[in-house]
Amino acid sequence: MSDIKIEQLKKSYQSTQVIHGIDIDIRDGEFIVLVGPSGCGKSTLLRMVAGLETISEGTVQIDGAVVNDLEPKDRGIAMVFQNYALYPHMSVYDNMAYGLKLMKLPKAEIEQRVQQVAQLLQIEDFLDRRPSNLSGGQRQRVAMGRAIVRKPKVFLFDEPLSNLDAALRVQMRMQIKTLQRNLGVTTLYVTHDQVEAMTMADRLVVLKDGIAAQIGTPMEIYDDPHNQFVAGFIGSPAMNFIDCEVTEDHIVIGEQRISRPPHVNMRGKLVLGIRPEHFIEENTSALEGEIEMIEKLGASILLYVSCKNVSQAIVIQCEGHLNVNIGDTKNISFDSHKLYFFDPSTQQRVY
């Protein structure tokens, strides 16, 4: 059990810098998810903590000790790779025992540890099999098992579920979360899937182009995004961004205007952000638009509504049995307390 402190961490490959100074304080036993679009530096950051990638600048501390110059094996970490990285020529048992043998543990203890973890993960029936004779989900569990038997201080996961089908992904996501909570091991988990991030994390680190755009609990980030990128990335379906101008009396959107809620005290050309789930069925201060497309999700229904002179269709989430057709005119009303405003030049949130 241990805490991790990442300070001013930077990484450059030759002349290109890919991580631009990241600070994260991770408490003992916390489940931290690094989330961001592909290529933003998640894996690089994780691999620097693992010791698989050199650190250009800054420090990584585990348990209060700087580990920058330690070999991966001396950092007390265990890692689960996206492709699982199971040794294909060894049985499941040998895969799990490989690291323990290298720790020079007595044979009986290795046996006992492997059996115990295999039971925990329900893979005790496959111990003699080669990884190629296992299904994707079973391989995933073996990879987890290999990480767990080492009794590491820190778990590192690099997109461990992205090779699984959707149903299995949901199931494994819960298993990993439950397991981590029971074991209480500090965990860094990388994913590009914001649903996975929201559901699993104690705290999220939203990365963008090698910078931590925001760090916080899932609900903090959902309720209070610091900038347009975070607001758009977290939450599904994604937040609508609508160019608007806030004047003394109105908010002007395209060719229409709605009266300015008194608490919106900004003025000027801004980007209005509103989540699809925050529209309301009411006719006060409504915009009008035409339904362009309908997506039925069962429990809910997504309407794509285009308004005159607004560049993008506005996505509205409604109750599932709403009876509407393409081409209908739709009144759009907001919950005025759930509006976000962003500065169009800096993309920072201003309200």
């Binding site: 698989l52 991966p72 790779f81 990285a85």
Partner: protein, 293 residues
């Protein structure tokens, strides 16, 4: 699934494969058939009389201690060449796999010997080990080793093995390095996290995973040592001293074109042909099975 391409005209496919077929018939099938036919004949040295003797030539070989000795010698020679050149190639490949700077130069240099013709390779080593002029002979002399492969048969054997192995290192190196590159990097990283040092990692992860390539190369190297080393031996020792470096393929040449025993020589080449067929079948069987983990 392979897609079949249908040509409308029926002669085009034949036309396309014709060059390959003609070359195969002219340079492989025809000589092989000739050899097979010859192996049943007994001809006097001047070619004046020829007699069909069935399997006499083969039976004679079976009773000929010279031939059986050559067989054993060839076995030793090919195993020595295969293990020496594969050993070095594996060693270099393992190092090259870890090199980051200048790896391109390093690899290029290692591949050059492959482009050297066998006779030239032989001559090169001949110069180095020339009993009176050779630079290596000179150094060996300072260590008190008297090198003369023209008189000493053990030394002669070592020299042809060395030269033959040297030439094959490049080829093996290429295959080994390709095999090592095809091992997913994450496996190596996982083993590093598990605490395996470079040597342990090589022994427990890399070596087992490249074993299909190792087997493939073993067969290729044995075939190489059996057949393609003719030029090297011809240039360095011409089979001597005595018969001490006369491997089977060299004996075919010696008995046939020097000794003019065409029937016996043809019988030997038929046996060699049989050996290479067996080796090739073994290899194909194995490759087809495709080692899957």
């Amino acid at each position: 699934m392979l897609k079949r391409v249908h040509y409308r005209s029926s002669y085009l496919p034949y036309l396309l494969v014709a060059p390959q077929i003609i070359i195969t018939i002219l340079f492989f099938i025809w000589p092989a058939a000739q050899a097979l036919y010859q192996s049943f004949l007994l001809q006097d040295a001047f070619g004046l009389s020829t007699e069909f003797v069935w399997f006499d030539n083969f039976i004679e070989l079976y009773d000929n201690p010279n031939y059986l000795n050559s067989f054993a010698r060839t076995g030793f020679f090919s195993l020595a060449v295969a293990s020496l050149s594969m050993g070095f190639a594996l060693f270099f490949a393992a190092l090259a796999d870890r090199v980051i700077k200048g790896s391109h130069t390093y690899r290029t240099l290692l591949i050059i010997p492959y482009a050297v013709a066998p006779v030239l390779a032989g001559t090169l080593w001949l110069f180095l080990f020339n009993p009176t002029l050779g630079i290596i002979t000179y150094f060996l002399d300072t260590f008190g080793i008297d090198w003369n492969h023209k008189l000493n048969s053990a030394q002669a054997m070592s020299l042809v093995i060395l030269a033959a192995a040297w030439k094959q290192i490049s080829y093996n190196f290429l295959f080994f390095i390709a095999a090592m590159h095809s091992i997913p990097k994450s496996l190596i990283e996982a083993s590093a996290i598990d605490g395996a040092g470079p040597l342990h990692r090589f022994r427990t992860i890399i070596f087992p995973l490249i074993s299909p390539t190792t087997f493939f190369l073993l067969v290729v190297n044995i075939i190489y040592a059996f057949f393609d080393t003719f030029g090297i031996i011809h240039a360095i020792t011409a089979g001597g001293p005595g018969n001490s470096t006369e491997i089977l393929v060299y004996k075919v040449y010696n008995d046939g074109f020097v000794g003019l025993d065409l029937g016996g020589s043809a019988a030997q080449s038929v046996i060699l042909m049989f050996i290479v067929v067996v080796l090739t079948v073994v290899q194909f069987k194995y490759v087809e099975r495709k080692v899957q983990y």
